[in-house]
Symmetry: C2
Subunit: 242 residues, 2 copies
DNA sequence: CGAGTCATTGATCTGTCTCAATATTAGTGG
DNA sequence: CCACTAATATTGAGACAGATCAATGACTCG
């Protein structure tokens, strides 16, 4: 156990309603504590794991905010997701026993390290946990299906509206405001995620602001007219935005 | 058991090297036979399952060719994947116990129906099967990450090159030619998958043909200069194109 | 307070879309 | 077997959303 890791328990974690222990009985949750080997701190800008790294563990985010991204040989980068507290990252590594993307902390973060062998062992013992693991993976597949719809079919304004609605919704589920937020990512990162250039993100923010739908000041965003935003992008179509 | 379903065994299926039984011992494979409840025939144009349908089973494709697609309320459709023999579909249904996409047969097909409760039960018993299920899901996640890169960053020519290379590779793994193929989908379906319009697909086919890289005649495609095609899209970047 | 990062805005360019016409193929029934 | 129809594919011309290039402004953090 190194400096930036230490032992911890799921059973008294305040994220247990969102994270791994969902649906487990208190007694079973004690067992789940065995899954989490340690926690690990990740400073802003640091990688939790990177492309090519050996896959050993899944990570449950306790605090902080991550992006996952892939880049190909000619240097183009694609942000594949933004993850916040209670969400699980590292699933990409299972298939080849190597990670195929980079997970970078966009603010100082802490994750629970769950060695995948523990996860598999315990989920053989607890059907509820097994089902939960399957749901986490399935949710990611469905989310990415929705992203394909966005990237393949939607205009810049729709994409940004969808992005903002999804983000506040997830923040709201974690006890934050349902109208205000501080973005943890740059315009360039949003653009990469949405398949647009940073200038287009900036312009689209300005347009939504001019239309009185949102208020933007740099990283601060307030949704003034949620219904107008939903008219631009109807979130019905995205069933599984966590 | 209805007319178009009947009992069958994995242990003597000629797809066992590609499909579910990978890595299982012969003895264990007998057990896997229990997972597959029945087979089901799906005629060209028919749905195997559709958005909103209750999720009960995963499906292993024995013969035929499928597309999966989602459509939102304003009628826009996004093809999220094309699947062939040995591949598993239905994973999208796990998270909500309802399917969130449509799976449509693009040619007469036959699938093995694997009730998900059987899959979970047996994978609690057989770590090898458990791992395999996890890999199948992880592979899909990684594939979709690659799609996001395509849709977010690549030009039409690159997308089509990637698509063709991926398709022949998968067909080749199934014993077909590594240079020739008959496409089972329309230009519109390819376009939807790649985030382009059908006219752009047609034009890009024509361009690759004019450049002497491929030969195209309607649904027939022959890759004349695979290296040129790989120069347009380097498949290194796509690690997990099945 | 100053350097570097990040964001905004304008002007122009371009890849893909849209609209439209034509060509090819597959399917159907006489 | 052929004519007819519907579905699919090709190709052209013009339009447009978003990209690119460039300049300025605002914030952050040591």
């Amino acid at each position: 156990m190194t400096d930036n890791t230490f032992k911890v328990a799921c059973s008294n974690c305040n994220l247990r309603e969102l994270c791994m222990p969902i649906g487990l009985e208190i007694a079973d949750m004690k067992k789940l504590d065995e899954v989490v080997a340690t926690r690990r701190q990740v400073k802003q800008g640091q990688r939790l794991f990177g492309n090519g790294d050996a896959f050993t563990s899944l990570y449950a985010i306790r605090t902080g905010f991550f992006k996952t991204c892939i880049s190909n040989e000619d240097g183009r980068e694609q942000v594949t997701g933004f993850q916040m507290a209670g969400e699980i990252i590292g699933l990409d590594g299972i298939v080849t026993d190597q990670h195929s993307c980079n997970a970078v902390a966009l603010e100082d973060a802490e994750v629970c390290v769950m060695p995948f062998s523990n996860v598999e062992e315990l989920s053989r013992e607890f059907p509820v946990l097994q089902r939960h693991v399957h749901k986490v993976m399935s949710r990611e597949i469905v989310r990415e299906n929705g992203m394909m719809m966005m990237l393949g079919n939607m205009r810049a304004e729709e994409r940004l509206a969808a992005f903002l609605l999804n983000l506040v919704q997830r923040l709201h589920a974690r006890g934050f405001s349902q109208s205000e937020m501080i973005l943890r990512m740059t315009r360039e990162e949003i653009g990469s995620y949405l398949g647009l250039k940073l200038e287009t993100i900036s312009r689209t923010f300005s347009k939504l602001s001019d239309d009185g739908i949102i208020e933007v000041k740099q990283r601060y965003v307030k949704i003034l007219a949620p219904d107008e935003l939903k008219k631009i992008f109807n979130p019905q179509s995205c069933q599984t935005c966590i």
